[in-house]
């Protein structure tokens, strides 16, 4: 149990330092917005221009009206909680299925 706690500490310290990820605003290779294609190619490929994407709730790991760092922190906590929570639910449902 003590060791599981230590793993949790590693996780929490990663969480604490997560704003380091904001130090660069360079996009990943191949994850550009349309403006990049306009600049480099002189046109935006049709499929990319007309792409429909969903309105993400916390787009780009930020929250409107909050500073980048606060938004990034909250995104990290929300994401990690959702992921852990989904596993928790699967494990619970799984246990119930097995006991029946």
């Amino acid at each position: 149990m003590k060791d599981k706690k230590r793993l949790l500490y590693i996780f929490l310290s990663m969480l604490l330092f997560v704003p380091i990820g904001l130090l660069t605003d360079a996009p990943a290779w191949g994850e550009w917005d349309s403006g990049y294609y306009q600049k480099i190619l002189g046109f935006v490929p049709k499929g990319i221009k007309s792409a429909k994407s969903i309105n993400a709730f916390m787009s780009d790991y930020s929250i409107k009206g909050l500073s980048d760092i606060a938004g990034y922190y909250i995104s990290a906590v929300v994401g990690a909680t959702l992921i852990f929570g989904i596993f928790f639910i699967i494990a619970k449902v799984n246990k119930n299925e097995k006991s029946h």
């Binding site: 149990m1 003590k2 060791d3 599981k4 230590r6 793993l7 949790l8 590693i10 996780f11 990663m14 969480l15 997560v18 380091i20 990820g21 904001l22 130090l23 660069t24 360079a26 996009p27 990943a28 290779w29 191949g30 994850e31 294609y37 190619l41 046109f43 490929p45 049709k46 499929g47 990319i48 221009k49 007309s50 792409a51 429909k52 994407s53 969903i54 993400a56 709730f57 916390m58 787009s59 780009d60 790991y61 990034y72 995104s75 990290a76 929300v78 994401g79 990690a80 959702l82 992921i83 852990f84 989904i86 596993f87 928790f88 699967i90 494990a91 799984n94 246990k95």
Partner: protein, 217 residues
């Protein structure tokens, strides 16, 4: 490596969904056999770590950036199928909640970052098992293999889908994409994934109280 919406043709998007769906079903069944009160905290925390490590954007020369994925550590501690499902879940949350990676391209991203990464890392680990740095090699091999599939899926777009000489979807050719993506993963992000895998693996293995599923099959 998170391919956004509009970068892949519908044909490729559908093909990746058709490929990924049976793998998700099989993997999910496997997850249900392994997930219990003992493994839940570990699998849960390692998956949450995968989410967090992807938020550490690392700038590299050429005005771009990237990050580790954290799939391989789950693959070598548990099972590559568990890693595949865990990282698929992480990617789903990223796409739906944070707009990181497209929805039509979600299956493509899951196949590269979650499936190929986990299995390549797992086999590399078993191959180099006797070497002290096996977890590092596994992490590096896993993420580099993911980048190979991503560059292939992107790079074939302009070969098949054009209109009046203008590419319809992702515009850069296979060679350019391969050099940029696979090259940057070999030199930078693979090293980060390797170090991350090595650190967490040594930490877990050093603590004997944590029981992990053996990888014998």
């Amino acid at each position: 490596m998170h391919i956004p919406d509009g970068y892949l043709s519908p044909e490729i998007a559908i093909a990746t969904y058709l490929t990924a769906t049976p793998l998700w079903i099989y993997g999910f069944k496997k997850l249900k056999t392994i997930l219990n009160e003992e493994t839940l905290p570990l699998i849960g925390v390692l998956s949450a770590m995968s989410f967090i490590i992807m938020m550490f954007n690392i700038p590299i020369p050429g005005a771009t950036s990237g990050h580790a994925v954290g799939a391989v550590i789950i693959a070598i501690l548990f099972d590559p199928w568990i890693a595949f499902i865990s990282v698929s879940l992480v990617l789903l949350i990223q796409a739906v909640i944070f707009g990181d990676g497209g929805v039509s391209t979600y299956a493509a991203n899951a196949l590269s970052m979650a499936f190929v990464g986990s299995f390549a890392g797992y086999y590399a680990f078993n191959f180099f098992k006797k070497i002290k740095f096996a977890p590092f090699i596994a992490g590096w091999t896993g993420i580099v293999s993911s980048s190979v599939l991503t560059s292939f899926l992107l790079g074939i777009e302009p070969i098949f889908w054009n209109e009046n000489g203008h590419p319809l979807y992702f515009p850069f050719d296979l060679k350019t994409t391969f050099i940029a993506l696979v090259g940057s993963h070999m030199l930078f992000f693979g090293v980060v994934e390797g170090i991350f895998t090595m650190l967490v693996y040594s930490y877990i293995k050093q603590k004997k109280e944590i029981k992990v599923v053996s990888h014998e099959r």
